[in-house]
Symmetry: C2
DNA sequence: CGTCCCGTTGACGGCGCTCAAAACAGGTGG
DNA sequence: CCACCTGTTTTGAGCGCCGTCAACGGGACG
């Protein structure tokens, strides 16, 4: 993240979200006064489903999970968000359609919807980037629909694991796994035990190693085949 | 749909998509030359998953279904689109991420991505409306994720039926059902037979009537309760 | 050392998928 | 009008996947 032209690295809308630098000096700085900065600890609830919602947030650092509880007792994760993404802007009525929880320590900047609308009206290039963000999130959501709709447990877990490997990274290198079994289950629409069983089976068959908080692909080819298609599709915002 | 200020009802971007009328004369007319009009018969494939994609379409009339085939042999419907919605703009690589098929005779207008980007840059209010469209679609997608992730077959079918009743309509009036059992199954992530069985069960229990291409709610309260929550959530773009 | 939380493993039952066939509707040609 | 064919819907029988319930092990922490 480069400093933006207004020389203020507090300015999310140029520093974090719109870092490409083709944004003019004036529009970027218009926003500065409208922002408020917030921090949340890991595990903290940022906002709750059904709560009134007037602000949108831009994630600066950390990871958020968005969850919902359509049936009493069981949660479903709608998606995971990483730095740079928008939260709380997709609601047209006045309440959040999901609960947001910090997975890691989180830093975010908040703007009211009203101010944001004004900024969007006056800054087409900002609007373009917001559109891009929504496109990306919609594609992620559609991938989740794809997977939840058809794939059996093995394939879901395989897809999920593949979605974790950092782009451009060596596929045989171990990579971190921040989610608990329960959270993976909520993301994949499975039960905690089923996720655990599938992980165990993958380990038994020499597909992966999974020591405490990490995963490592031993046979990427077979995992990919299990996932349903050659290409590893992402499960979420990761 | 009112005529737009440029007096040309061929102009989708003011006539169909941006009909609120607060769009200036000039920006609306900028677009006219960039549009091409297309028609598709019911059942016709508009474009196929994986095909190169350089245009975006605005639905003027009819209904589209978006499908994908993550596993050989089984399709999953990602969503249904009605007049006014955008198709083919959410891909950032050069291929369609899903197949689009006309459910009814369809009329659409096409613009190339390149032209559309230029229009968006120059017309903030157009960009705002596009953002609104994406927000809506994202919310729809999240509702589908919710339902696919957790709800059992009864609840999915109940939610689906509720999503069909036109807003503001008398809940006891019959309403049309254009989708086949198979298509409903693909939308709900179920098998054709299961959908048929649930419909039969609902009929036996006096919840609905379902004569050929129609549905009628006999006990809306119980259907709503079955759907999982008091409020009937939409399953798709309907 | 006790407690709590997370992950793992086993047993069991049920929901929903698969396979198969029959009932039904619609269209076409005789 | 009827026989025929095709595609859709319905219904049945069987079973496999996965969710539920329960018990156990291990690491973190007070």
């Amino acid at each position: 993240m480069l400093n933006c032209q207004c020389q203020n690295d507090d300015c999310v809308l140029c520093g974090a979200m719109f870092s490409s630098g083709d944004l003019g000096r004036a529009p970027a700085c218009d926003i500065r006064g409208l922002l408020s900065r917030r921090r949340y600890a890991a595990g903290e609830t940022v906002f709750r489903e059904g709560t009134p919602c007037t602000q949108l947030m831009v994630l600066r650092a950390g990871q958020l999970k968005l969850t919902t509880m359509p049936l009493a007792g069981r949660e479903q994760i709608l998606g995971l968000l990483v730095a740079g993404q928008l939260v709380g802007f997709e609601t047209s009525d006045a309440t959040y359609p999901y609960t947001a929880t910090a997975l890691t320590p989180v830093e975010a900047c908040c703007v009211t919807h009203k101010d944001m609308l004004r900024v969007l009206e006056e800054n087409p290039s900002v609007a373009l980037r917001v559109i891009q963000r929504f496109r990306d999130e919609l594609v992620q959501a559609q991938i989740m629909i794809r997977n939840l709709g058809i794939k059996p447990a093995h394939a879901r877990v395989a897809s999920f694991i593949l979605s974790l490997v950092p782009i451009g990274a060596d596929a045989s290198e171990p990579f971190p796994l921040v989610l608990s079994r329960l959270e993976i289950a909520e993301l994949l629409g499975l039960s905690e035990e089923t996720v655990s069983r599938v992980f165990a089976e993958f380990r038994r068959n020499g597909l992966i190693e999974a020591p405490h908080g990490e995963v490592r692909l031993l046979d990427a080819g077979r995992v990919r085949r299990l996932a349903g298609m050659g290409t590893g599709e992402a499960w979420s915002g990761f």
